[in-house]
Amino acid sequence: MGAILEARELVKSFGDVRAVKGVTFAIEEGEIFSLLGPNGAGKTTTISMLSGLIKPTSGDAVIAGYSISREPNAVKRAIGVVPQEIALYETLSARENLFFWGRMYGLGGALLKRRVAEVLDMIGLTERADHKVATYSGGMKRRVNIGVGLLHGPKIIYMDEPTVGIDPQSRRNILDAVKELNRQGMTVLYTTHYMEEAEELSHRVGIIDHGELIALGTQQELTRMVGEEQTLKLHLGEDENPTPLVEALSKLPTVTKATASAEPPIVTVILPEIKESLAQIIGTAHQLDVRIRSVDIEEPNLEAVFLHLTGRALRD
């Protein structure tokens, strides 16, 4: 299968600030591609350019054979966008919302009617289709939000952090829905700052930070970048300050990298051989009078890749 989306050296500047600095990647037809990065990394700006919502300062993207610079309307017909927030009219019913958005995508008559019925069935809201969206639970609203993006039968769907701020059950439903859509052949561009979601969903992942794509590949390809190194997570006591421990561990010759997150206080240590070093690490903590509640040993993952590449944790 060929690439359905090719982003070429996309740049976006807002005044003196360069939010996206020459991002290049391609998405194959039928795959789930995740853009993984912390908040403010440039994910939403990139997806906004790929949606035709904002014009790139330079560079271009070709989606389903159309250039976003020269043929933005053709691109908009080929893509479905599921924004981060619930972008629906709450005082209208789900059916009315779908009819309205369908018309905005240029559908009409019998085709619109059929697509609305199909989408309602797909998102499991046929029974409550005529109730106001305002009366729905957060998860139901999310489903309608996704349904709007599917109405016109797009070739690729963009999902911009669709699980932010929702309960675990709704999150699970959305992840399952994304996988189901993909099973039916839909290509998905998914942005997230949750490493677990990218790992669970994606065929390939692009890691973005400070507006730059710093790594791109399958999960195996990316974790290979970390090499044979392992990740050790030290969960500290609630009131402990992790900084002195991080400083001390960074000086140990057996430790490749050590970082900390404050709430809850966790120190993440990357090192080639845990068995040899564990006693020394615990001893260092003891010397500094830092209480360790528990220790996790993790296989190399995207979090470790991000840490390896940036020196920071994804959620910093």
């Binding site: 309307n73 972008a87 629906l88 240029g106 009409g108």
Partner: protein
């Protein structure tokens, strides 16, 4: 259906399903019209005025004849129901009564009134300043406004009449029809002619005009308050429409619309059409309800429709401009509410325009309220389409100008 109409229809549906919005748009203006009209006495088409028997004291110190003329005019049959004039010689006592709230106005005619009036005319000067002193009761602005209006009109007529007699006298002498020494013999007759001129047909029409809708045309408070409140609440509606455009940006529906193959022009066009149709529906319902339930005499149907179309257009222009210049929905709401209330205050949406100072009436022409109210007032007083061409043209021009300014502002914003 074109996309812009789909957007407009969606907005119309959202607004008319909102009970709170319906109360604000329809019930409140209707109830307020009724309440204000009831408070001031007018309760139906062709009813009598709420203002009558205004207590006025005239202190006539004039040594000449023209002061008496003013007294006579204030006691004329045309004004007998409206005014209750009393003649007093003690100015201090009269002003004391005014301060106690027993009077609406005290008019003090100075001793040299006739003399100054004649002198000013022979000197060919402008209207002399402070020629008559009028003291009014601030607690009764409506009645005070009526008295002030009458005295201004009477003085204008007096000055014009006096000038005419002066001109005729001069011409008679200059063309040698009479000798200057014969002028003394003619003086009483000329004075009588001046009196007739001031009291004659011209003044009657002045009275009819000055108290238009107050007395002679049987001022109908409902016919005044119904359009006043409808226009005020129309401004609230367009404010809400402008605010909704920004609210859509904040809630994410506007950015989402921009990711569909719908142009920015179609989206803005749809929002404008939505505000316009909502305003039109609101005005239509209020006008029909006030006619059917309250019997407000709207007059020529064609003229009322055209005025309403133009008025809602101009109001929509303000709503869109508001969206174009505001940073967010909250700011648009605050600015819009302020503009709506200032326009209403300036234009006489709360009290009759006649009671407002001249500068306010002039300033009010920046608002759709003023032109709309002027047009509706003429129509409810029996005017025809020909009588409202100026307000119609002004409203249409206002709509066009505001729309152009808004488009420019939106383009600047998007850049």
């Amino acid at each position: 259906m074109p996309k812009f109409l789909s957007i407009a229809w969606k907005d119309l549906k959202i607004t008319f399903r909102d009970r709170a919005a319906l109360i604000t748009m329809l019930l409140t203006p209707f109830a307020l019209s009724l309440a204000v009209a009831a408070a001031f006495g007018g309760s139906g088409g062709g009813s009598t005025a709420g203002i009558r028997d205004i207590p006025v004291v005239i202190v006539n110190n004039d040594q000449g004849d023209l002061g008496n003329l003013i007294v006579e005019i204030f006691n004329s049959p045309e004004l007998v129901d409206l005014l209750e004039p009393t003649l007093m010689s003690d100015e201090a006592a009269a002003r004391s009564q005014l301060e106690n709230g027993d009077l609406v106005s005290v008019i003090v005619i100075p001793p040299d009134f006739s003399e100054r009036l004649s002198a000013s005319q022979s000197a060919n000067s402008e209207q002399p300043q402070g020629i008559v002193e009028v003291y009014t009761n601030v607690a009764r602005p409506l009645s005070s406004g009526v008295v002030r209006d009458i005295i201004n009109r009477v003085l204008s007529r007096l000055i014009a009449g006096s000038a005419t007699v002066q001109l005729v006298s001069n011409q008679l002498v200059e063309t040698d029809r009479i000798a200057p020494e014969q002028m003394a013999a003619l003086a009483p007759e000329l004075a009588q002619r001046a009196r007739q001129l001031v009291q004659g047909e011209g003044l009657i029409s002045v009275e009819a005009e000055s108290v238009a809708g107050v007395r002679r045309t049987e001022f109908n408070w409902l016919a005044y308050m119904a359009p006043s409140m409808a226009i005020l609440f129309l401004m609230f509606t367009v404010t809400n429409g402008g605010r909704s455009l920004l609210a859509e940006r904040e809630s994410g529906t506007l950015p989402r619309l921009l990711t569909t193959p719908t142009s920015a022009g179609q989206i803005i066009g749809g929002k404008v059409a939505g505000i316009y149709f909502t305003g039109l529906a609101q005005m239509g319902i209020l006008l029909v309800a006030s006619y059917v339930i309250l019997g407000v005499p709207w007059g020529s149907i064609l003229a009322v429709i055209l005025v309403t179309l133009a008025l809602v257009g101009a109001a929509t222009g303000w709503g869109i401009l508001l969206a174009a210049i505001s940073r967010n929905a909250a700011q648009a709401g605050t600015i819009g509410m302020t503009i709506a209330l200032v326009f209403a205050g300036l234009s006489g949406n709360f009290i009759p325009r006649q009671a407002l100072p001249e500068f306010m009436r002039t300033a009010s022409y920046i608002s759709p309220n003023s032109w709309g109210l002027e047009a509706y007032s003429k129509l409810t007083s029996g005017g025809t389409l020909a009588d409202v061409t100026t307000p119609l043209a002004a409203l249409a021009a206002m709509a066009l100008i505001l729309f152009i300014i808004s488009v420019v502002a939106f383009r600047r914003q998007s850049q």
